[in-house]
């Protein structure tokens, strides 16, 4: 919102019926409770000693606050397995996201800035890829990786995470509107090669789109469950989602895992929530591009 429109908004806001304002605020406060209470419960429960987790847990802290001890126990449990899972997720999502972003940016840029026969056909095939559910790909990917003996490896989860058709779509739209053709022409006259122009000039102009693509791919891979579930048998290669689900399914036999699952669930969402809070404006622009363009 620009400075010019701000006073008008204030003026309007002040004229609102106080009953409407109160009703709207109450409504939103109630739903804030709905959306935040489960996370609050997680924080509170992760701070309690194991003995207090056997009866109704409540929404407030117990007698003793042992979050640091619980975190330490969860991180070191079973040869630091949980730490390993977090690290794996970071590798899958971080590297996958970075590579996916780079090659999607190049592809989108190529589709936007160079006219060649078959360009639209290629773009439409890539767009169709956006609609292909990733779960439909997991099984054939497993069979193909099995043929080269590469299932149950880091690569079997990492490599498929390096492809983002949606990223190409976003990069093409963004390159079309933010990288002027005159600039490329000027660079050409100066004798710069096309790749060099891309890496020194265009990629900077496309930076906001790159951050958005990276975030989308990072979150998609961090949340991925079906592909690792099918690909991996070695629990030391699991991402955190698969690891937590494995622990969760064992609570019936091994009740002491309950605490680790609660603390682990909390630890697994903290990095994403922090990233979301810090990079909000990129999210909004990305959602805008997907929804409004």
């Amino acid at each position: 919102m620009t400075a010019a429109t701000l006073p008008a908004t204030r003026h309007r806001a002040s004229k609102q019926n106080p009953v409407s304002v109160a009703a709207a605020t109450l409504f939103m406060v109630i739903f804030t409770g709905y959306f935040l209470a489960p996370i609050w419960w997680l924080v509170v429960s992760a701070s309690k000693p194991r003995s207090e987790l056997t009866t109704a847990t409540g929404l407030w802290f117990g007698d003793s606050f042992v979050l640091p001890q619980n975190v330490a126990e969860t991180l070191t449990f079973d040869d630091a397995l949980f730490l390993r899972w977090m690290l794996n997720s970071l590798i899958y999502a971080g590297f996958g996201g970075a590579i996916a972003t780079l090659i999607a940016a190049m592809a989108g840029y190529g589709l936007s800035k160079y006219v060649f026969p078959g360009r639209e056909a290629v773009f439409n095939v890539i767009l169709a890829g956006v609609l292909v559910p990733s779960t439909a790909l997991a099984l054939p990917l497993f069979l193909l990786f099995a043929q080269v003996g590469a299932t149950n490896t880091l690569w079997s989860v990492l490599l498929p995470s390096c492809v983002s058709p949606f990223g190409v779509y976003l990069a093409r739209i963004y390159a079309a509107s933010s990288v002027p053709d005159e600039l490329l022409e000027a660079a050409r006259l100066d004798g710069a090669g096309e790749l060099r122009t891309f890496f020194t000039i265009s990629i900077r102009l496309m930076a906001p789109a790159l951050v958005t693509i990276f975030l989308f791919q990072f979150v998609a891979t961090w949340n991925n469950f079906f592909l690792p579930l099918i690909m991996l048998q070695n629990s030391r290669l699991y991402p955190v989602t698969l690891g937590l689900q494995t622990w969760y399914s064992q609570i019936g036999h091994q009740p002491y895992l309950l605490l680790s699952v609660i603390v682990g669930a909390l630890l697994s969402i903290v990095p994403l929530i922090i990233a979301f809070l810090m990079l909000q404006r990129f999210w909004r622009s990305g959602l805008g591009a997907g929804g409004v363009k």
Binding site: S112, R119, L127, D181, W222, F226, Y248, F276, G291
Partner: protein, 322 residues
């Protein structure tokens, strides 16, 4: 293929965005050759990976689904041979598969209208002058999207458990994980994660409405309700269509939440959703049957998404014309 979302043709139409200036300069033979060379150079890395991890797997899935396992004799070695539509006959004659499709349809009806309806209401409130503290609410509602589906399901699984839940009154009196209510319990998990996300998509669309439009309506004496109903909602219809398509795709792929719920609810079986049947068939292992399930599921997803898009497009066009 042309995917057309909200009247903007995504596809050939996007090319118009880059304008006639694309590939400007010497449009002679050398320029054209340069365009082809450079275009391919930029596209090559993506296309290689796209082929390896999208196109080839899809093709492989289709081939596998048309094959079947036989033995030369009772104890002979296993052989994979051409089976035609044997697997597909098995898929379509499987009552459990139809039951799982019916279940996700019911799930869709329980979850999506409520989810999108609430997302629209939240977005309209965020966009109206009535509400204060918008930044806070926007963030608070969006935070659950940062929680992976599996983790959300685990968390709600604890909240549903009669012994653990802080909401004792509800969890101890209602059998939330029993056969009657578990579908609502799963729908609640999905809605908890995605309502804020859909809210932001709709909110972005609301923000793009020119202020002059709502301002003019206000000066003409229209109240907030009327402005929302007659101007804002029609203007964000395309965003609603988009969220609707995402919801169709998401519902048909339903897997993570029910799989997690299986640990605590005997009402969720391995054939609960179509995707869980794919997983179960792959675990047998009967990869040919699993591939056929995947192909059918992907086709159903595509057909439903396109039907939905076409249907909503026609009704928006009709409204624009009338």
């Amino acid at each position: 293929m042309t995917v057309s979302i909200e009247g903007t043709t995504v596809g050939p139409g996007v090319a118009d965005g880059s304008g006639p200036a694309t590939g400007a300069g010497p449009s002679g033979r050398s320029g054209r050759a340069r365009n082809l060379r450079a275009g391919l150079m930029f596209l090559a890395p993506f296309l290689v990976l796209f082929a390896a991890f999208y196109l080839i797997p899809i093709g492989y899935s289709i081939v596998e689904s048309l094959r079947t396992i036989t033995r030369t004799s009772t104890f002979g070695p296993v052989q994979e041979v051409w089976g035609g539509f044997v697997q597909y006959e098995a898929v379509f004659s499987n009552a459990q598969f139809w039951a799982s499709l019916r279940r996700v349809l019911v799930f869709f009806l329980i979850s999506v209208p409520l989810q999108l309806g609430m997302a629209l209401v939240f977005a309209l409130l965020l966009d109206s002058p009535v509400l204060k503290g918008k930044r806070f609410f926007r963030l608070a509602f969006f935070v659950p999207y940062a929680v992976p589906g599996v983790v959300a399901a685990i968390m709600w699984g604890f909240l549903y458990a009669p012994q653990l839940s802080p909401f004792t009154l509800i969890a101890q009196n209602l059998d939330l994980l029993g056969p009657g209510l578990v579908i609502f319990a799963i729908a609640n998990i999905v809605n908890w994660v995605y309502t804020g996300y859909n809210m932001l998509i709709i909110y972005s669309a609301l923000q793009a409405i020119p202020t002059e439009l709502t301002e003019a309506a206000r000066i003409d004496g229209a109240g907030q309700w009327r402005i929302a109903w007659s101007i804002k909602i029609p203007m964000v219809a395309p965003a609603l269509v988009l969220t609707g398509v995402f919801s169709i795709i998401g519902t048909l792929q339903l897997f993570n939440e029910p799989l997690v719920m299986r640990s605590v609810s005997s009402a969720v079986q391995t054939d609960y959703t179509p995707n869980m049947m794919v997983h179960a068939a792959a675990n047998i292992p009967n990869y040919n049957l699993a591939a056929a399930y995947s192909v059918v599921l992907a086709l159903v997803t595509c057909v439903l998404s396109f039907t939905f898009l076409k249907f909503t497009q026609r009704s928006t066009e009709k409204r624009a014309a009338g």
